[in-house]
């Protein structure tokens, strides 16, 4: 198992449950990415009752609240202890290669021979930044959402936040409220109300089966896996942090950043009205689905009546360019998504975009599995709650695969003793 995040640990639980020998290699401490690559004020966008792992639900007095970052780390670290996951921390995998009998996993502190290997290294290792980012003036500080921690870290003055999905809107909100005027560049995004008809939107999606939609039931799974995260935040007052909320506090919207000229002029697309219209339409389709489900399941009497949010307000003629050298913008935050890092994976399992070729987590190389990726097997696969079902199903497949082989599951590290 490569990676001791929530997905790797969920699968470790399932492997142990079936007495499958395994080891979990983690380059940092358990929940490393949560510890080291997220901003300080982050809260989960899924409510506490839903942010659960196999055999380990939420116990507390705030089921509808949203965990703070430190609480997420504690939750995952406690899980690792409670399930006695066989984690080798501070062990960085440098290569995974195929062998006759399975795989060799090389790390900075040893090598392992194994029959099966699970990639649980996460989907967000590397922040994606547009190719023209290097044409922005050197005087402007650039940070990715992965590097951003808090507003005090950045200079006074204007900030351009690029990307309006979950990270971008939260970061824009926080920075603008700190007194640094924010301009937000908006591309494709998916708006959703935090609370709808008295219940959390995640509750509706869970109850109505939206989160359980399977990867093989979707029209275009490759596209569905590229869709950015819902524009949702774990706001402490459960308010909806959408573009209207941001413009109401003075954030200025511009279209998608589509280029930077040699002279340092940023170019914004003229399609902002369409981006917002598409997002509103997607949101309303989801709410239609929820209303139909609520009606079919007799909830109409108990729940407040259906309603729709006002359309996203777009001002007339937003600017299409900005001279980045003028000093108006002092910092740019790239909230433009992530990609996984498989530079250590020495097997022919990557497509031309560098993503693993798999069928619902069963990778194209026999005995290799993937977990913790968007829409891996279900729409909820990217959520903490999605790891459990994915782990159970992939473990069943892995066990059957091992059952068809003869040798034991793992080889011991050359320098190790067999421990009790």
């Amino acid at each position: 198992m490569i990676g001791a995040g929530h997905a790797g640990l969920a699968m470790s639980y399932c492997l142990a449950d079936r007495s499958i020998e395994h080891v979990v290699l983690e380059r940092g401490d358990v929940a490393n990415t949560w510890r080291t690559e997220r901003w300080d004020s982050l809260r989960l966008l899924t409510p506490n009752w839903q942010s659960r792992l196999p055999g380990f639900g939420y116990i507390g007095d705030d089921p509808d609240g949203y965990r703070k970052l430190s609480e997420v780390v504690d939750f995952i670290a406690r899980y690792a202890r409670v399930i006695s996951a066989p984690v080798r921390a501070h062990t960085t995998v440098t290569a995974v290669r195929r062998t006759e009998a399975g795989y060799m996993v090389c790390a900075d502190h040893g090598e392992w021979l194994c029959r099966t290997v699970v990639l649980a290294s996460g989907a967000c290792n590397i922040a994606r930044v547009p190719s023209f980012a290097n044409r922005t003036p050197r005087s402007i500080v650039k940070l990715t959402a992965q590097e951003y921690r808090n507003p005090e870290q950045i200079a006074d003055g204007g900030v351009l936040v690029v990307g309006a999905s979950s990270s971008g809107t939260q970061i824009a909100n926080e920075i603008h409220r700190s007194g640094r005027p924010v301009m937000l560049s908006v591309g494709e995004h998916i708006r959703a109300p935090r609370v709808y008809r008295g219940k959390d939107i995640e509750w509706w999606m869970d109850a109505a089966g939206v989160l359980d939609e399977r990867y093989d039931e979707v029209d275009d799974i490759a596209r569905a896996r590229r869709v950015p995260s819902l524009q949702l935040a774990g706001t402490y007052d459960r308010s909806t942090l959408d573009l209207n909320a941001l413009t109401a506090i003075g954030v200025k919207l511009v279209g998608r950043l589509v280029g930077v000229t040699e002279g340092g002029k940023a170019q914004f697309a003229g399609s902002l009205p369409n981006m917002c219209a598409l997002s509103d339409l997607k949101m309303n389709r989801l709410l239609d689905l929820i209303d139909t489900w609520a009606s079919d399941n007799g909830l109409d009497d108990a729940a407040p009546p259906p309603h729709r949010l006002p359309p996203t307000r777009v001002r007339n003629a937003p600017p299409l360019s900005m001279d980045l050298a003028s000093g108006e913008i002092k910092t740019i935050i790239w909230a433009t998504g992530y990609r996984p890092d498989y530079s250590w994976l020495d097997a022919p399992v990557l497509d031309r975009k560098g993503l693993v070729i798999h069928d619902g987590g069963i990778v194209s190389s026999p005995g290799m599995y993937l977990i913790g990726a968007p829409f891996l097997r279900r729409r909820k696969s990217a959520l903490i709650d999605g790891a459990g079902d994915d782990a159970r199903e992939l473990t069943a497949h892995l066990e059957a695969y091992l059952g068809n082989q003869r040798a034991p599951a793992t080889g011991w590290n050359k320098g190790d003793c067999v421990s009790a």
């Binding site: 279209g255 589509v258 170019q267 003229g270 399609s271 369409n274 219209a277 339409l281 309303n284 003629a317």
Partner: protein, 190 residues
């Protein structure tokens, strides 16, 4: 959504489009197209352009017809108005592309269209092209497209057709995003 008992017929061969998409998914070379036009100056601001063949699916694609276009400036520009202005051709391009897209998306979503009309209006401050004010751009200050659509669908579904059409429109992209344009000169002269 639409009544799937009666299949919609907007004249779009969606099955062929879907088959083409599948075929081109694994044949990136075949997906590289080149569109062309040729232009000949006539007199004054009047020019005559033709569109014949294009390149795609790995080879030249000739056409049975040659399409012809006259472009000119209007009389208020002290010209002869022998054809629409080039910027009006752009508006025609945008409206045509969006309208074709609406038909294709409607077909795919089994929505029967009865009537689709659009008016397009592009604002232009002439101080740009006349060089009077360097803060004014040469092109449009903004473009507004207004659709009137009569179809067998709810309002939101019709709005979704129009939104999706923009998302997948080539000319909409040309107009709303930057494009590299290279102009090369071969001259004959003294």
């Amino acid at each position: 959504m639409a009544d799937t008992d009666r299949p919609a017929n907007n004249g779009v061969n969606v099955a062929a489009l879907i088959a083409a998409r599948e075929a081109l998914t694994n044949a990136r070379e075949a997906a590289q197209f080149k569109w062309r036009a040729a232009c000949e100056w006539k007199n004054g601001t009047h020019s005559h352009s033709t569109v014949e063949g294009f390149y795609g699916l790995g080879q030249e694609q000739p056409r049975k017809t040659t399409f012809a276009f006259d472009a000119d400036h209007p009389e208020v520009f002290a010209s002869e108005d022998k054809g629409a202005t080039p910027v009006e051709y752009v508006l025609v391009g945008l409206a045509s592309c969006l309208t074709a897209g609406i038909a294709a998306v409607a077909q795919h979503r089994n929505i029967q269209l009865h009537s689709v009309t659009a008016t397009v209006e592009g604002d232009m401050d002439l101080q740009g092209i006349l060089g009077i004010d360097s803060d004014v751009r040469n092109g449009f200050g903004g473009i507004k497209v207004t659709y009137n659509i009569d179809a067998d669908a709810k309002r939101e579904d019709i709005e979704a057709l129009v939104a999706q059409s923009q998302k997948r429109s080539a000319v909409y992209d040309v107009v709303t995003n930057p494009t590299n344009v290279t102009v090369v000169v071969n001259s004959t002269g003294a």
